[in-house]
Symmetry: C2
Subunit: 162 residues, 2 copies
Amino acid sequence: MKTSFSIRKAKASDMSAVLNLIQELATFEKEPEAVIVTEEDLIKHGFGKVSLFTCFVAEVDNQIVGMALGYPRYSTWKGPTLHLEDLIVTDSFKGKGIGKALFSTFIRFGYKQGVKRIEWAVLDWNSSAIDFYIRQGASILNDWRVAQMDPKAMHQFISKTQ
Amino acid sequence: MKTSFSIRKAKASDMSAVLNLIQELATFEKEPEAVIVTEEDLIKHGFGKVSLFTCFVAEVDNQIVGMALGYPRYSTWKGPTLHLEDLIVTDSFKGKGIGKALFSTFIRFGYKQGVKRIEWAVLDWNSSAIDFYIRQGASILNDWRVAQMDPKAMHQFISKTQ
């Protein structure tokens, strides 16, 4: 049976459902404790005076079952780009084309703006996601690694380099 | 002999020298043809009505010999973060502590803002850069891959999914 769904821009009142999706993805990615963002944070950061991200949601019967969330970045080689931070469909609604529709909405959103690239990160063991992205025409760059400092590492670094 | 240098925020008039550094890095990273950004683009994107990035430069005798450039990102797990897009010291001034001083300036800039993470990308074969970042306390995430679509791939994807 075909599932009927619709996609629209998220509102502040969707952030509770969006946070549930974020938590579901973190658990899938084996980092269930990593989410410290709250619903209030998402409302403040996405719908305050300055909006730090754009979010689209997928709905089935007025229930939010998926989302795509991203923000602008800048390439010193290419110019303005867009980053897809999260593309999530809740487990029980996977395999119905909702993820592809959200992805398509996001790619069209970026293309319309004229960004020079759309970029995102994917876990190397998530082969079904990687296969999906390749099928849509994305390139996977295998030779780049992500480096990070959390606030504790920043603080230690700063203390040592007075 | 110790080289004396100073670090300051970049001005629009520095973008010509900054573009030279960007081109130098692209050549080092084996993609000399990849830079399509112009000096005018950098001025417009960094010093226009909306600033898409923040740039610091290192000077020796009024000559720009290095730069650190970054912009805000957003983590749905952590909240507001900062991305270090480029950290570059021109070849003839490497090994004098200028890269570390630029890195330190950028980390302090982010820490002061209270960002929840500072993140950047590094090529897996650039072991001297990776060793440097690890020595400063950064974590290297080996299981994430970067996926990208350029405007041509976006256009092809959109054409196929009308």
